[in-house]
Homo-oligomer: 100 residues x 4
């Protein structure tokens, strides 16, 4: 994952972009890309969407991830560590139901 | 990353969830969590948001990532591979400006 | 406002659309159109966005409204009455600060 | 509709709010409220959502509308006129299918 973060940083630096890539603007972009992903499923079943637009869906998924990586980089928090910590708290919040 | 995907799957299986975790419903959830992340920046500067709500922001970032991992798992496409492929195409789409 | 609702209904009926225009699908569409509106402001100041894309922005604003009208129609609740009721509760929730 | 716009303006003025209610921030808020509306339909059928959360759904619908009215006010474009104009163009873009 560090490799892909470096690749994104290099890409940005090569083009002189990133001047206004603060956490707020990146959060806006994550939300916009998430909507572009969802748009493929508007008025359609998941099966239908994937049958017709698989590659475009994979691309939009990648775009959400690319902005999410930049966001995690800007706020200085690792995505995987954050996910592990959240899952741990979810496990406490939602205990495994006991079988009767 | 495979480890965290397994952790999420285990969590879901332990609780008997996941019956309606299809790509469409997961895309809705990615979008909703992205909005909850953005909500921390509503009417506020990025500095102010992070100073006041850092932990909550990290948690929402993790939630977007957790749903994105489930989405990638359901459609059978690896997030990092998808991001690499997208970055490669971006590099062609947006060539490095030549210095004059 | 009743006139524009009728116009939308007529438009849909003329084209045989609307079969899956339930409240859930309309809520998805409201959210998607709201993102298309916000997209005009991605990486840009409000002044810059309006100077460059005024007509497109007005169109996206109209799209959010058109779906919102359909949503209100499907759940059988008038938009203006709902807004009045909400404003009344807001006024109680956020009292006018007394001048010192 | 002018009445409700005045009511919103009065509410804001009474509280000294509105300083940063520019079109960009309002577009963010429209998108966030649209997500809160959609959230009621997460993992649920439309029937189920309305049966359980009708009043909250009406309130979120009102919130989207209240921000949309403020947005239209800030950019100086009437919502209903914009919707009529958009519907007219939609009618040209999507002609009524001829019966065979």
């Amino acid at each position: 994952m560090k490799e892909i973060i470096k690749e994104i940083q290099q890409f940005r630096n090569d083009r002189g972009w990133g001047g206004n890539h603060d956490a707020r603007n990146l959060a806006i972009s994550i939300s916009l890309e998430a909507s572009e992903l969802l748009e493929h499923f508007q008025w359609r079943s998941p099966e239908d969407a994937i049958a017709k637009d698989k590659q475009a869906i994979v691309d939009e998924m990648a775009d959400v991830f690319i902005y999410l990586l930049q966001f995690s980089d800007v706020i200085g928090e690792d995505l995987i560590s954050a996910a592990h910590a959240k899952m741990k708290r979810n496990a406490i919040k939602y205990p495994i139901p006991t079988k009767s």
